[in-house]
């Protein structure tokens, strides 16, 4: 801390016993409480996001093991390793967990960790809401997997088509648990989306006008807006499904005027944007990595940002291309084919811009950058195979075949997991203060890259060869044995690559080289602070003078002073130009978010078995929310400065 605080007198005045160092003062105000209680009551965005990331990785691991089991079952025809009952539960929980418990929470957690640091603030806009979101997500995830372990795992497919998922054909509580898991994760996702949007709109560092926001942050904002529009649809749909099953409503019962296709429309209106919700943050991570490792800002900032926004909009016009095999009109089909083609344009633009960035940059191919190149190589296959699926006639042949799992895994592994692993290597030093091993990182990259191709390219071929998807086995004379075996062997490569990655993480945590504040020479603000980031992020809120916050100035960074150091105070700025506007005091650690999440949990889980549970949970939630909103005792030295509107 070479800088002298302007407000030194003021800080001393408010806390006479304050130690000399600014760092200690801020640390004392912003750190979590001690012990388990401190862990449960934390409202720090980094603590919450980190545990959310670890939770999501855990679910990713379990769902990955499920995938491995499925690949073992499919390795040879008429295999009897797993019966259909368990297999259906496996693929349903695999898909549901990857979509709802891994991908979306993961990208949102990465956003909640890095967006506040990148835009130069101390915490997310609503710290308690953030904690609440994490707890609901955790309850939802534990619910799904404990159901799987008690033979109550949902077995209707992650898409839950009615009537198969309805009361007539899915007896028991399996589907109800699925529907409730959706509700939990949707609450968490919507909460996190609001966090990201409001934090970015209101808490950017002074000078970071909207046209200086890093592409990574833009991607997260676009993703959050999409969550806000799309997620309520699946939450509504799953609530309708649960009501059909629990209180005998008739939404999807055609005998009473309901409609099985209504479910499909509601579900895919969410389901298609969902893919882009997962993949746009991937584009954001790629932007951050490409810029840093090419030693130049992303080429075509405006084009990239506008493309992200365009992808977000267009993705809502594609849902019907999941339903080409249902009774639809020709015109409708043509419209959705055209819309699907249109979305390829902005996606192409982003990729061209990155290639241009590398072209004109001076790139280093460290592990994060390797993952970016892997992303381009894999995701392009995913995108191009998607064009086949968006073409109605071809889709009629290859939809619901193994081509689909091949395509979606190229898209999601290539478009989200590879950028995510790149981001993991890239930001690991910032989170932990230690470097990851380059050698292990490169080996695991190649294993994963080869594994993904060996696993999923045969699946593309299997689809063309006529193998339907979601089958627990296939006949020996079908001729699909060889490709399936290849695919299963590829899954082994992926497992090995993942194992190496975990070893690398563990090794680096224990004995990784110490990382400085800025091991890569990064562009954005997170590299200005020490690693791991202190609880308060910035001793002073930096002032941003250009798009590349750290490359614009080479020496000291301008900053603002005057925020209280004895309170959790953050600076709010105006939405467009980020002019300092007001100060806002943040809440101290509290148990209330956890209690609220538990109240919601009681309601939703009890509600699976008896509608009375909803009522009880509702009352409990209201009590918890009242406690949440209840004002604390005013602290000493509080002097609110009110600005009354004219």
């Amino acid at each position: 801390m070479s800088a002298q605080p302007l407000s030194a007198e003021r800080a001393v005045e408010s806390d006479p016993n304050s130690p000399a160092s600014l760092h200690d003062r801020l640390e004392r105000v912003w750190r979590n409480g001690p012990g388990l209680w401190g862990w449960l009551t934390s409202v720090n965005h980094k603590s919450i996001a980190l545990r959310s990331i670890i939770t999501a990785f855990t679910f990713f691991g379990i769902a990955g093991v499920e995938a491995a089991l499925m690949r073992v079952q499919l390795a040879r025809p008429e295999n009897s390793f797993i019966g259909p009952d368990l297999y259906n539960q496996l693929f349903t929980t695999h898909g549901s967990a990857m979509m709802f418990l891994f991908a979306v929470p993961m990208v949102q957690s990465v956003a909640l960790y890095f967006v506040p640091i990148m835009i130069g603030t101390r915490n997310v806009a609503f710290p308690r809401l953030n904690a609440f979101g994490y707890w609901t997500y955790l309850i939802g995830g534990v619910l799904l997997f404990s159901a799987l372990f008690t033979n109550t795992g949902p077995d209707q497919g992650w898409f839950s088509y009615v009537p198969l998922a309805g009361p007539g054909f899915s007896p028991g509580k399996r589907v109800d648990i699925w529907a409730q898991m959706i509700t939990f994760t949707e609450i968490a996702a919507i909460v996190a989306a609001i966090e990201v949007i409001v934090t970015v709109f209101k808490q950017r560092a002074p000078g970071m006008s909207l046209n200086r926001v890093p592409p990574f942050v833009w991607a997260m904002v676009v993703m959050s807006f999409m969550v806000l529009v799309a997620m309520p649809y699946v939450a509504t749909a799953s609530a309708m499904l649960a009501m059909d099953r629990l209180i005998a409503t008739q939404f999807f019962n055609y005998a009473e005027g309901g409609d099985a296709l209504l479910w499909q429309h509601l579900f895919w209106f969410f389901g298609h944007p969902e893919v882009y919700i997962i993949f746009i943050p991937g584009l954001g991570m790629v932007s951050a990595i490409v810029a840093t490792f090419s030693r130049r800002p992303v080429f075509g900032y405006t084009a990239v940002v506008l493309s992200l926004v365009a992808i977000g909009f267009l993705s809502f016009g594609l849902w019907v291309h999941h339903m080409f095999a249902t009774p639809l009109t020709q015109t409708g089909q043509s419209f959705f084919t055209a819309a699907s083609a249109m979305i390829a344009i902005p996606t192409g633009v982003t990729i061209f811009c990155w290639i241009a960035t590398i072209w004109s940059g001076r790139p280093r191919f460290d592990t994060p950058m390797l993952y970016v190149v892997g992303f381009i190589a894999l995701f392009t296959i995913g995108g191009l195979s998607g064009l086949l699926l968006a073409s109605v006639p071809v889709d009629l042949q290859i939809t619901d075949t193994d081509f689909l799992p091949g395509h979606i895994h190229y898209v999601l592994l290539g478009g989200m997991v590879f950028p995510l692993f790149g981001a993991l290597h890239y930001w690991f030093p910032k989170v932990t203060g230690r470097m990851m091993s380059e050698r292990l990182g490169k080996v695991s990259f190649w294993l994963l890259f080869i594994g993904v191709n060996v696993t999923f390219f045969p699946q593309l071929l299997l689809g063309i060869a006529g193998m339907p998807r979601r089958v627990y086995t296939y006949l020996a004379d079908s001729g699909w044995g060889g490709l399936n075996l290849t695919s299963s062997i590829g899954a082994g490569f992926i497992a090995l690559g993942m194992l190496l990655l975990v070893i690398n993480i563990a090794r680096s945590l224990a004995a990784g080289a110490a990382a400085g504040a800025d091991p890569w020479g990064g562009e954005t603000l997170e590299w200005a602070i020490s690693s791991p980031a202190p609880d308060y992020n910035f001793a002073y809120i930096p002032i941003v003078h250009g798009r590349s916050a750290l490359w614009a100035d080479t020496g000291d960074l301008d900053a603002v002073a005057g925020l209280r150091e004895d309170r959790r105070e953050v600076l709010q700025t105006t939405m467009l130009d980020a002019v300092p506007d007001s100060r806002h005091e943040h809440p101290d650690p509290t148990i209330v978010p956890l209690l609220t999440a538990l109240a919601v949990g009681v309601g939703l889980i009890w509600g699976i078995f008896d509608p009375i549970g909803f009522a009880v949970g509702g009352v409990l939630t209201f009590i918890a929310l009242a406690a949440w909103g209840w004002p604390e005792k005013p602290k000493p030295n509080t002097h609110e400065v009110v600005e009354v509107p004219k």
Binding site: T58, T150, F169, G172, K173, A255, P327
Partner: protein
């Protein structure tokens, strides 16, 4: 350090999951491979002296379908497919006695119901001896019991459309077409 603390915490979560495992759900079990013999447990009930009002003798064998959601659902499908409704009219009663009330002439235990199906009863209930396997009998009995609330609520079906004299989901397409719909979709789809 931090990792170790995390590990410990996740250990706790794992312990809670294990607790959930301990409460494993019998309700959800699907017994596919129960090779039901055609000379099943109910062979003990070879009775012909039964008269209305006298419950069947107690059996030692326990119904495997009690409280099992899957079996109740299977029983429901069998009940419809085998046209039990022809007489019992979705449990409301018609030519045969209603099944939704609590009055059971021949007893309401699963064993009694199985005996009734196997033996038949005077005044119209035919005997299904040898025609229905033991497993299916238990499934039917469990469903019949669920209609009058004798089964636990959790495994019972959430929507018993039959009781409202409605067509269930698995029936053939319903016949209230909206004329305009079929006009707009001539090439690919005709709504029934």
């Amino acid at each position: 350090m931090r990792t170790r603390t995390y590990l410990r915490r996740w250990g706790r979560v794992a312990a809670i999951c294990a607790l959930g495992l301990a409460l494993a759900c019998e309700r959800e079990k699907r017994r596919f491979n129960d090779a039901s013999p055609s000379a099943p447990a109910y062979a003990a009930v070879t009775l012909d002296t039964l008269q209305p009002g006298v419950p069947s003798p107690e059996l030692t064998v326990k119904s495997p379908s009690e409280g099992n959601a899957y079996d109740i659902a299977q029983g429901k499908q069998l009940f419809e497919q085998w046209n039990c409704s022809g007489c019992h009219s979705h449990g409301g009663g018609g030519m045969g006695p209603p099944l939704m009330d609590n009055e059971w002439i021949y007893g309401s235990s699963p064993e009694n119901i199985v005996a009734t199906i196997v033996e038949g009863r005077p005044n119209g209930m035919p005997s299904f001896r040898n025609r229905i396997t033991a497993n299916q009998l238990w499934q039917l009995a469990a469903y019949v019991r669920s209609m009058s609330g004798l089964e636990a609520k959790a495994p019972s079906p959430g929507r018993n459309d039959e009781m409202q004299y409605k067509v269930d989901e698995q029936r053939t397409p319903f016949r209230t077409p909206r004329a305009s719909a079929s006009k707009t979709l001539p090439a690919k789809s005709e709504r029934p």
